[in-house]
Amino acid sequence: MENLGSFALILAFVLTIYSIAASLIGLARRNDRLLYSSYRATGAIWVCVATAMGCLVYALMTDDYRLAYAAGHSNRALPWYYKISAVWSGQEGSLLFWSFLLATYSMIAVKLNHQTHRQMMPYVSATLMTVLGFFLLLNTFVVSPFKLLAMNHGGQMVVQGPLDGNGLNPLLQYPAMAIHPPMLYLGYVGFTVPFAFALATLITKQAGDKWIATTRRWTMVTWLFLAIGILLGARWAYAVLGWGGYWGWDPVENASLMPWLTGTAFLHSVMMQEKRGMMKVWNMVLVFSTFFLCIFGTFLTRSGVVSSVHAFAQSEIGAYFVSFLGIGILFSGWLLLERLDYLKSTQPLDSLVSRESSFLFNNLLLLAACFAVLWGTLFPVISEAVQGVKISVGAPFFNKVNIPIGLLLLLLTGLGPLFAWRKTSISSLKKNFLLPGVVSLAFGVVLFAYGVRSFYPQVSLILCAFVAFTIFIEFYRGARVIAQKSGQSLVGAALTLTQRNTRRYGGYIVHLGIVLMFVGFTGSAFNTQNEQEMAIGDKMPLGRYTLEMRDLKETDNPNYSAQKAQIVLARGDKQLGVLEPERRLYKASRQPTTEVAIRARLAEDVYVVYEGLSEDKQHAVISAHLNPLVNWIWVGSAVLVFGTIVALFPSRIGAGTKSSQGPPDQRREARPQTPTRIKDKDEALARSST
């Protein structure tokens, strides 16, 4: 099986080189058959990489510990689904998984576009294959997942593995963690497609709009995967690691956040190019930055350049990544400068007070946040190089620097929709700002009266109210017009409105998700914690709750042994339930883990950790956290995902109109008798473009 896997990888690598050569030679000689062959090669490459993936999965599922990778990342008692997830739990397997995803994306992108973008596609295909070739080079020659273990038998080396494997890291044996890496990788890898289209656009000297239209959905899907990956990681950290938080600003977390920030900037900025023909160069810069940050994140995770708690084992692949990044950035930068004349804006800016301006400032803040994260992540390395002193850059730094930037961004999320495209008059600004401003300030007064007087939490909650209200107004105004015309209820009209412009209203739903998440982030300013050594019958206060130790049990199964505390949670005299935090010891890896017990409510989580036995072995050390509003983050995450999915659906311009629903005679009746003034801008815009 290992021979088949290795052979498939070598064949895939050779085919990748063939595909690049066939694309470029076919283009130079105008040989369509050669071009077509290069496109077909992407399918053959996918088959080869999928075969290699299948071989690795088979080895893991059949406990073939002759393979070093299987022996290092799995064991016999591991449930089958975690054996599959072991594919991406180590350096070699995860790089193979990366290649598999990129081969899949490449095949789909080429299949869908090779007829419609005949001029660009050879370059798109060659770019995709170049990136894939780089990863296959690593898979094949540097960190092969099919290395075998050998043992010395009487002076002769014989291929033989251990009876059982070391097992999967217990912290990864959690459902969210099983799908968190694939989601992240789908995000990282997916940005290769818009990158390839952007590069092809520059090479073919096209004006720069076609690639935007083609890759819009690719970019959104990829961005969504990255967002889901990041959020699942946060959820995993919260539910598994037992420190009561969800985001620790670890370099590897930061590596995933940076391309998400630039990708978010791109998704906003791209609208200016679509609607106004502006920011063509900037969009190129953003998509290049996003792609290279994805590669940079992979480099950070795997090179050991910064210390991280969940980096892969250090290996020599860091030099390969640096070379790839260096060549890629230099080539892209040179090409961009070379083609600047083809990327000139075709429209002037009508007014400084406009949606266009707000988008530019939105981009600035997103990139400033990205820079702050990058700077903080690399600063220990920079500091050591410059002043020879090791320093730490931890969560306090990132929070202090990014909280003000994040709040400004939240403010712009609310302001943006209040500005019109092209130009916003003072009277329009007054009309749009007055109500949301008054409502959010009134909310601030209420917060103050209820004792929320810290600066950042108060500002954050006021801004959340402001943005939420502007979103509500956007829906309400549009829905009211439709409701008046069609007789629908407001809720039905809001649905119709969303259907008519999924991108715009899906975007607002995403903004609402962000608002809910900010509410959750703000809640952490009010966290409280207590820790106590508890014997059976002991009580510990936690805010308005009381925790009482009822029992301490031991359990055992083939995978792990555990000690479980039974803690009764009460508020006043009322018993609310029993929480059972655990401490496990996984037998294969001899590694202990914490199993947190959480009583989750929208208002607050009671989060209890069994830390272990006290030094005298007579008491259980129990740490309890009261985390207000933290569930708003997970609810906001779901809303964000939902909004993105809505935005991915094509708009139905005529949705909800009577003329499209009733029979012909009714349609005649439904037609307005007198000219109706256009009130809903989107509806009118939709009309204007049909």
Partner: protein
């Protein structure tokens, strides 16, 4: 200390690194005093009963655990963590001896170097860690303002007309011309303004 600083510090204390992974790996490599089959292990108390608990929490929340977990000393839940245990005990002892919180922290910085602090010192080259993000933000703001000004005042309609879409060799999409769309947009804007 100002409210916002307190709030930020409070957030910080609950937003620490995902360090348990490496802590757990270190433990798995042996050297701990816990029995092999005892998942619970032992943990020194975070604060000794009767000691200045609030002071202990404040000081141990200003120091980064040196086991590589990325946690503050207060929050490291690595069982038998030699680093956290030693630092906690030292803090408790020094607090009991009447040493001030700042003096205790300074003592640790002297012993371990600035890496024991969770954030760069605000002096010398390390100050640039704090300053640079905001410098970039301000310079970026100036640049964006300049770009907007230039787009507004340096871009004449004649210049716009001069810009032609380069020939691509592919058929243009069958859709309404931008001029017509813009005409409608302008009409809509007027209608909305007059509403």
């Amino acid at each position: 200390m100002k409210h916002w600083q307190e709030a930020a510090l409070k957030r910080v204390s609950h937003s620490l690194a995902l360090g348990v992974l490496s802590c757990a790996l270190l433990m798995a490599q042996g050297g701990s005093g816990a029995p092999d089959n005892a998942p619970a292990g032992t943990k020194p108390p975070a604060a000794v009963a009767g000691s200045d608990d609030a002071g202990f929490r404040r000081v141990s929340n200003r120091l980064l655990c040196q086991c590589g977990c990325g946690y503050m000393v207060l929050s490291c839940n690595h069982l038998d963590c030699s680093s956290a245990t030693f630092i906690r005990r030292t803090i408790q002892t020094q607090l009991a001896a009447g040493k001030s919180e700042d003096a205790i922290v300074a003592g640790f910085v002297e012993q371990y170097g600035p890496r024991i602090l969770p954030e760069p010192p605000r002096k010398g080259f390390s100050l640039s860690a704090w300053v640079m993000p905001f410098v970039v933000l301000v310079l970026g703001g100036i640049l964006v303002s300049y770009i907007l000004w230039r787009m507004k005042f340096r871009f004449s309609p004649a210049e716009a007309e001069d810009i032609e879409e380069p020939a691509t060799g592919e058929a243009p999409p069958k859709e309404m011309s931008p001029a017509v769309i813009e005409k409608y947009r302008a009409q809509i804007d007027r209608d909305l303004e007059n509403e």
